[in-house]
Amino acid sequence: MADLQIINVSKSYGAVEVLRDVNLSIASGEFVVFVGPSGCGKSTLLRMISGLEEAPTGEIRLEGKVVNRVDPAKRGVAMVFQSYALYPHMTAFQNMAFSLTMAREPKAVIKEKVGRAAAILRLERLLDRRPGELSGGQKQRVAIGRAIVREPKVFLFDEPLSNLDTELRVQMRAELIQLHAKLGTTMIYVTHDQVEAMTLADKMVVMNGGIIQQHGTPLGLYDDPDNKFVAGFIGSPKMNFIKAKVEAVRTDAITLSDLGGCSRLELPFRNFDADIREVELGVRTEHIDIAQDAGTTDILAAKVAFVEELGDVTFIHTDLPTGERLVVRSSKARHRGSSTECFVKLDPAGVLLFGTNGERIRSA
């Protein structure tokens, strides 16, 4: 168990800046997930914590000690790789025992430690097999076992589930949560899959373009994103974005106009900066409803583009006259796909405002 601080870390390959001024503090025992699109720098950050990648500027502190110059093997971190990286010429037992063998531990100790890790992962009966004779999920467990055997202060996972099929992935996710509960060790997990991040994380760190966009609890980020990127990245289907003009500003409310062409919307809002004339609304699919008719001005007219009917829920993809796409989640009734015209209504409580620069505009 260990706490970890990352202070002012930057990294570039030649002219390409991979990480810019990253600051992050991870508490002991936390399950932290780095999530972001490919190339956002999340893997690089993980590899810098492991020591496989150098951190030329800034500091990485593990239990208060700067580890920038400490050899990867001596940092007390263990890593589980995307490809598992099991040694193909060794049995599962030898794979898990490799680090102890390198450290010249006595045979009895090795046997005992590997045995304990194998028991946690229910691998006892597979220890004599080589990686070639194991299934994807089993390989994954051996790779995790190899990490457990080292009794690390921090576990690092680099997209460990992305080579598994969907069903197995869900199952392994549950196992990882249990494992974390059992070991209580700090775990850092990298993925590009936001669902995986949401289900696993105590703390979720969203990255893009080498910058930490926001970190916090998964639901905290879902409900209260700092910027358009985080808002759009988390949640499936993606949050809807609609451009609008600010028509009137009062102390505790504003009026927006030109939504989807001509609609108006009244929003409760404290201390809106009256200089801002244009905003972008972010509305999640569950905060939009299909309306019966164009009764009031806050109702938008739209055309149905297509409908995804999943049984428990229906996603209605509609096009606004402005060309913007609006996805509506409807769990009440199944959509009757005959009409192409429809009306939608936004729930003011679920509307988030973003400036033209993509930053969130919060009510004070």
Binding site: S50, G51, L52, P72, A73, K74, V77, A78, M79, F81, Q82, S83, A85, Y87, P88, H89, F98, S99, M102, A103, R146, R150
Partner: protein, 292 residues
């Protein structure tokens, strides 16, 4: 493949006949070629294992006729010449070369294939360019260098100049490139030192390539004629090739069957090797060839 064709063309009239003619023809040709390929070897064996004084070529036989006569001839050669000593020299020469090339080559290939270090690119380019240079060019200067080192007629003179095999390096690099980076990183995190990664990860993972290369080097050194000829001309250092060369010399006044017995003895190790490892050898050649 023929049956597939058959399935598609069953409608064609007279196809069954066509197929059988093709099959017969195919087998005939294949067997004829096989006979041409192995005939000289079989002929050699027949000459050796036959009563002396009856030239086989005049009275060709399919099978050896006299086992004892063949053994007697081999016995004559082994007792009257230093053939066994030449065997010893050739085997030592081959084994040392194999061990050296595998060790030195795999160490260098490990670095070239998996790591970055200053000067890597130019070094690699120079070594690969050397694959284009004919052996004939370096032969004489290398001989002179070996002579200056005082290594003529020594084992190190035979072995050492051949150890930096660019071909071996190339083959091992090609293979080691397929070792995933993550494997190396996992080992690093597991606390393996650079050398331990080479020893415990890269070497065992390259076992197939190393075995194939070892076999190819064996074939090559065993059959190497020209280098022993010039660098170890003393009878004390004769390799099997040179001893056989003495028998083979046009005016050696030795009877055919004795010459053939000497040749047969020289051919045995590679033939046995081939029969044991034929699949590995053939696939090794195919691999190094189709990647070139």
């Amino acid at each position: 493949m023929t049956t597939d064709v058959g399935l598609i063309r069953t409608a064609a009239p007279g196809y069954a006949l066509d197929l059988s003619i093709w099959t017969v023809l195919k087998w005939t040709v294949a067997i004829c070629v096989a006979v041409v390929a192995v005939f000289p070897i079989i002929w050699m064996i027949n000459v050796v294992f036959a009563e002396p004084g009856v030239p086989v070529s005049i009275n060709p036989r399919l099978l050896p006729t006299s086992l004892s006569a063949g053994i007697a001839k081999i016995d004559t050669i082994l007792s009257e010449t230093s053939y066994l000593h030449a065997y010893y020299i050739s085997i030592t020469y081959s084994l040392l070369t194999i061990a050296g090339v595998l060790l030195i080559g795999s160490m260098a290939a490990f670095e070239f294939a998996l790591f970055e270090f200053p000067g890597k690119r130019p070094m690699f380019v120079i070594v690969m360019l050397s694959l284009m240079v004919p052996t004939a060019v370096t032969l004489i200067p290398t001989y002179l260098l070996t002579a200056n080192l005082g290594w003529l007629n020594t084992m190190q003179g035979l072995v050492v100049p051949g150890l930096a095999s660019a071909f071996g390096l190339f083959m091992l690099i090609q293979f080691m490139r397929t070792i995933p980076r993550e494997m190396i990183e996992a080992a690093r995190l597991d606390g393996a030192s650079h050398f331990q990664i080479y020893r415990h990860i890269a070497l065992p993972m390259s076992k197939n390539a190393l075995v194939t290369l070892a076999i190819l080097i064996f074939m090559q050194t065993w059959g190497n004629f020209i280098w022993p000829l010039i660098v170890a001309p003393s009878p004390q250092m004769y390799t099997v090739g040179q001893v056989v060369g003495l028998f083979n010399a046009p005016f050696s006044h030795v009877t055919v069957d004795i010459v053939m017995a000497a040749n047969l003895l020289a051919a045995l190790p590679p033939l046995i090797f081939f029969l044991l490892f034929q699949r590995k050898i053939v696939e090794g050649i195919a691999m190094s060839g189709s990647k070139g």
